[in-house]
């Protein structure tokens, strides 16, 4: 028991020093009216009550949920597919791996500006490619219906990191297991189902949880590219929060928003963990 605490002590210390107080303060702020420059003033549940009648709050929640439920499964599938391909023992994989990883290296602002161009309705890469197939591409970031799908596509391009995690997980599967499966007569698909998936499940679970947490907090794209528009279609939750905190200088209201998001994410994560108990296989068990 003591050993355990010794091992985790760096985190506990860091939490107490750098996180506990800010987190506690932000809980406190959520019950106050706080414009950052003057001391906070207690107003009880007024922020939370006002939020329930704030149409932008509900819109932001909807936008963020839409984005999360669309991008997380797609990202999981794509990153797994690519990782499986890159796991083949064929020559040249090293180069391919770098190619798929490259885009995720670009810093947020640079990527966002680049994709503003790519999604240009008239001559951006995507609509240009579509026009070769005879399809007239939509207005993408200028259309309330297509702006979120556009952002999902953008996020998929940055899947290099998730793919790398999957790769590391795939590489740690002992080859003996595949041998044993082959001896038992299992084909490629069966090997995937009975060896790869279970052994990879801790990694997949990790990606599932972290991707979800991350997607709920999507921010940079709205901040740099669309300013929440058009017609609030890309008003993501954390972006609205940021506007409230730093542009309207209403830190109390923003803190209340943050804690509501926290509870949403916690709920979703707990569901994910509960589901994982049956699906995730840990070798150590």
């Amino acid at each position: 028991m003591l050993t355990a605490w010794l091992f985790i002590s760096p985190w506990v210390l860091g939490f107490l020093l750098f996180s506990a107080l800010p987190i506690g303060l932000s809980v406190y702020y959520s019950f106050t009216s706080y414009n950052v420059f003057q001391p906070p003033r207690w107003i009880g549940l007024a922020n939370y009550r006002a939020l329930t009648t704030d149409p932008l709050f509900w819109k932001a929640l909807y936008n963020t949920a839409y984005y999360t439920f669309l991008s997380v499964p797609l990202m999981m599938a794509l990153s797994l597919g690519v990782a499986l391909l890159l796991n083949s023992k064929l020559p040249g994989m090293r180069l391919f791996r770098t190619v798929f990883f490259l885009p995720s290296v670009l810093s947020g602002v640079g990527v966002a500006l680049l994709w503003l161009w790519i999604f240009n309705p008239d001559y951006g890469l995507i609509n240009l490619a579509l026009s070769y197939l005879g399809i007239e591409g939509p207005l993408w970031l200028f259309s309330p219906q297509w702006s979120k799908p556009a952002m999902v596509i953008m996020s998929l391009w940055g899947m290099g990191g998730v793919m790398v995690i999957n790769l590391a997980g795939l590489q740690s599967i002992p080859p003996q297991l595949y041998e044993a499966a082959r001896v038992d007569g299992a084909t490629g698909w069966a090997q995937f189902r009975y060896v790869t998936l279970p052994m990879l499940s801790p990694t997949l679970f990790f990606n599932f949880v972290t991707l979800t947490i991350g997607s709920f907090q999507v921010f940079t794209q709205a901040y740099v590219m669309t300013d929440g528009g058009p017609v609030h279609s890309t008003l993501f939750y954390v972006f609205y929060l940021f506007q409230t905190a730093f542009e309207s200088l209403r830190m109390g209201y923003a803190s209340a928003m943050a804690w509501i998001l926290f509870f949403v994410i916690v709920t979703v994560s707990l569901i994910q963990i509960a589901v994982s108990r049956r699906l995730v296989y840990y070798e150590e068990n």
């Binding site: 985790i8 190619v99 890469l125 990191g161 803190s255 840990y282 150590e284």
Partner: protein
């Protein structure tokens, strides 16, 4: 024999075809970046858009570096990133061990608490954290960007290591414990050496995140002597407009160290697990 070879060829062809297709999609935007970086001003907004710069302005890369104090910012970025990466990987690997390989009451609850810190948007803790660092006198130094990395290395990394550790069979620990080894020795001499894939992964992520971190430097650094590269990139985006060609050139240059690191660390992702020497 023939059919196996045919199957293998078909397999290889399929894999390469899919990868090539994917590569095209993934590389196109980057090629566009390169093309833009090399374009002369007049060609930047030609419609319909042109891919080949005529003539290629290799000068742009030099101009980009001279636009802001590149070398000074680079030095600061390197200091912060190298230290932060070391801190994050080292401390996360230790902390995660406590959550993965040791059994103790309340472990899952505390771990969920660790995870929960990822669920709070940074924007609301930004200001109180800033106040703490002001009180410590660390504002306008590189310390706020480095020191927190040594305290657990971030929940993301702890989670990553934990998941990985849990794929290592228990027998390792048990065998070593029977031999009388302490937990620390088990961690240091047995588990950690087998964790190269996750160490490499965590290092890449930590490097990537710290290298491109932008918010931290903006709010904690107040003197140009301390600025890091992401702040430098901002100089290309003025109120009156963006210097696209220089910005793309600079972005490509800033990308390079991470690419090099990734290329070098790749073999750790592909290293198979050595399970020799263990009787089942």
């Amino acid at each position: 024999m023939g059919s196996i070879k045919a199957a293998k060829t078909a397999y290889a062809v399929t894999v390469y075809a899919l990868l090539a297709l994917g590569s095209v999609a993934f590389l196109m935007p980057l090629l566009w970046m390169l093309s833009t970086a090399l374009k002369p001003d007049a060609q930047l907004f030609a419609y319909p858009p042109e891919w080949i710069p005529k003539p290629p302005q290799w000068r742009n890369f030099l101009d980009a570096i001279e636009y802001f104090p590149f070398w000074r910012y680079l030095r600061n970025s390197v200091i912060v990133t190298v230290l932060a990466v070391f801190g994050q990987v080292f401390s996360a690997s230790i902390v995660a061990y406590g959550f993965a390989r040791l059994r103790w009451p309340g472990r899952e609850v505390v771990f969920f608490l660790v995870l929960a810190t990822l669920m709070i948007p940074a924007q609301v803790t930004m200001i109180p954290q800033f106040v703490i660092f002001t009180w410590l006198g660390w504002v306008d130094t590189l310390l706020p960007l480095i020191v927190p990395s040594f305290f657990g290395g971030g929940a993301f990394n702890v989670f990553l290591f934990r998941q990985y550790y849990r794929t290592i069979p228990r027998e390792y620990n048990d065998a070593a414990r029977i031999d009388g080894a302490s937990e620390w020795r088990i961690f240091w001499q047995i588990i950690l050496p087998q964790s190269k894939p996750v160490i490499a992964t965590a290092a890449i992520f930590a490097f990537l995140w710290t290298w491109n971190d932008f918010m931290g430097p903006v709010i904690y650094l107040h003197s140009p002597e301390n600025f890091t590269l992401p702040i430098g990139l901002r100089a290309f985006q003025q109120q009156t407009g963006t210097e696209w060609d220089l910005l793309m050139a600079a972005s490509l240059i800033v990308m390079l160290p991470v690419i090099v690191l990734f290329f070098l660390l790749q073999r750790y992702f592909v290293q198979g697990m050595a399970l020799s020497g263990l009787n089942r």
